[in-house]
Amino acid sequence: MGPSGSGKSTLLHLVGLLDRPDRGSVRLGGVATEHLAEEERAALRRRHIGFIFQAFHLIGRLSALENVELPLLLAGVAPAERRRRAAAVLERVGLADRLDHRPAELSGGQQQRVAIARAVVTEPDLLLADEPTGNLDRAGGREVVDLLEALNRGGITLILVTHDLELGERAPRRIRMVDGAVAEDVRG
């Protein structure tokens, strides 16, 4: 949590291996990552990390199913298995009847659920969400938060960036940031 410009997203990008720290170390599963080659960092992202963005970042020309298949496509999974796994995850997020819809044909909440399905289809260890409800109305936001909480209870580590205090209060651990530094780290 923290006001905009406080460094929340930057921290998330560092954790997600999208950015490199100027100083310090980012350890993933106990392994320092900051000196790995770009290819290796990409491979780590592919295997262990799922991203959820405020702007969804769905590809408009592809169907919901194809969007969810994308990480598996990059991982070189065979088409039949890709389809099966993507369809199963979309069913889990409650969109079994929207497989062939384009993003533009879905509500904001539904689009973000497709994006969440895309983030978890590779069964990552870490789910990183950057303001996932920022572009949604209350109903859409609730859909998404309920889903993320369910996934977290199911055993995926979730790091969520928000400036929504109400949403923040629901987390078991809260890190508050101010001016690019951790100001507070509260558990429970």
Binding site: L18, D19, F51, A55, P71, L73, L74
Partner: protein, 402 residues
């Protein structure tokens, strides 16, 4: 990422912007069609020349009086040379080993008249061997008789057009006509052959060579045709010809010997060079298509920044991102090239129907060369945009278009 998945992904990109994709593919299609069409015209020209020479048979030596050094370049058409090439020379040459047939040629223009009709006509003084050498067919009557090889018989074989113009619908064979100062009898009429090597054989009167010598009051032949026996070496026969001429012309081989193979080969070289030059000019349009593709790629790069950022966040290595951009350009170039080839082939087929006399044909190398050039241009010009896409910082890219 699997290669097939990569292509399918690119195909979705291409299909998502049909107007943009069609335009780019059209640029490549235009270039490829230009290369294929222009080289087809060139190939047609080559085949046309081949066909023109084919009537002469493939093994022919043509002997001109005078050395080409003395007149500078081309053999003389009408011999203003110190020493004539005479019928006696020609007869000696016809006896050389390796020579199957010999025909002398002594042409001249004169007035052909019959009854009230008269016209200027080209008379070719020659022998009966001229008919098979030039592939002439006699439609009615007969060719020159054997006796006409040496004797100045007052006979003529007329070209189809000349016969019709002098005799109308009447049968010309057996009739008499006036050629210059001579009265001759028509013994045959040629089947129509049309223009061949710049000479309209439908318009000529073929007369015995001795008759022509009398009519034109000259001993000097314009040229001598030697048709070689199968398997004879043209260079050896040429050497023998020079020996004979030297012996008969006081030590000087003052003749020019041209083998038909050499002429054909020279024409072939010229036309092939010309065709390659034309193909290269047309190929420039493919480079233009490549520049266009680069431009469009750079615009697409800006519009698809967020998508590139997403792909990187999802764990796509830089290489995969670059390949996606290259693949898209290659796909468009390939689609455009195939379309261009189909259009060119259709136009060549249409051209062949409209101008059957001109043998338009797609040369075998044109399509592979045009395709390779198109793909190479696409690859070369999308390289830089692809590298830029591959190097894009995912954090910056995810913020979207700037």
């Amino acid at each position: 990422m699997r290669a097939l998945d990569l292509l399918r992904f690119d195909w979705r990109v291409v299909a998502a912007a049909p107007a943009r994709s069609a335009l780019l593919a059209a640029a490549f299609a235009l270039g490829v069609a230009a290369v294929v069409l222009l080289t087809s015209v060139g190939e047609g020209a080559r085949r046309y020349v081949d066909a023109e020479f084919a009537v002469l048979g493939s093994r022919l030596l043509v002997i001109f009086p005078g050395r080409n050094e003395t007149v500078g370049g081309h053999p003389p058409l009408y011999g203003e040379t110190p020493r004539d090439l005479t019928l006696a020379d020609a007869e000696t040459l016809s006896a050389l080993p390796g020579v199957a047939r010999m025909a002398p040629l002594l042409p001249g223009n004169l007035l052909a008249s019959r009854g009230g009709r008269a016209r200027e006509a080209l008379a070719l003084g020659t022998t009966r061997a001229f008919f098979p050498i030039r592939g002439l067919r006699v439609a009615r009557g007969r060719a020159l008789p054997a006796a006409a090889d040496r004797e100045a018989l007052p006979v003529a074989v007329l070209g189809a057009t000349l016969a019709r113009e002098l005799f109308g619908e009447q049968e010309a064979v057996g009739k008499r006509l006036r050629l210059g100062d001579w009265r001759v009898r028509v013994i045959g009429v040629l089947a129509p052959t049309g223009q061949s090597l710049g000479l309209d054989l439908d318009e000529v009167a073929i007369i015995p060579v001795a008759t022509a010598m009398g009519l034109f009051d000259t001993e000097g032949l314009l040229r001598v045709f030697l048709e070689l026996e199968p398997g004879a070496d043209p260079r050896r026969v040429e050497a023998a010809v020079r020996r004979v001429v030297r012996a008969r012309h006081e030590g000087e081989d003052d003749v020019t010997v041209v083998s038909q193979d050499a002429v054909l080969a020279a024409f072939g070289r010229i036309l092939t060079t010309l065709n390659l030059a034309v193909a290269a000019i047309a190929g420039v349009s493919l480079v233009v298509a490549g520049v266009l593709a680069m431009n469009v790629s750079l615009i697409a790069l800006r519009r698809r920044r967020a998508e590139i950022g997403l792909l990187k966040a999802l764990g796509a290595p830089a290489r995969t991102v670059g390949l996606l951009f290259l693949g898209e350009a290659l796909l468009l170039a390939l689609a455009g090239s195939v379309a261009g080839m189909l259009v060119a082939r259709a136009l060549v087929a249409l051209g062949a129907r409209l101008w059957p006399a001109f043998p338009l044909a797609v040369p075998g190398w044109a399509e592979p060369a045009a395709l390779a050039t198109a793909l190479a241009a696409a690859l070369a010009f999308s390289w830089w945009p692809a590298v830029r896409a591959a190097r894009l910082d995912p954090v910056v890219a995810l913020r979207g278009a700037d």
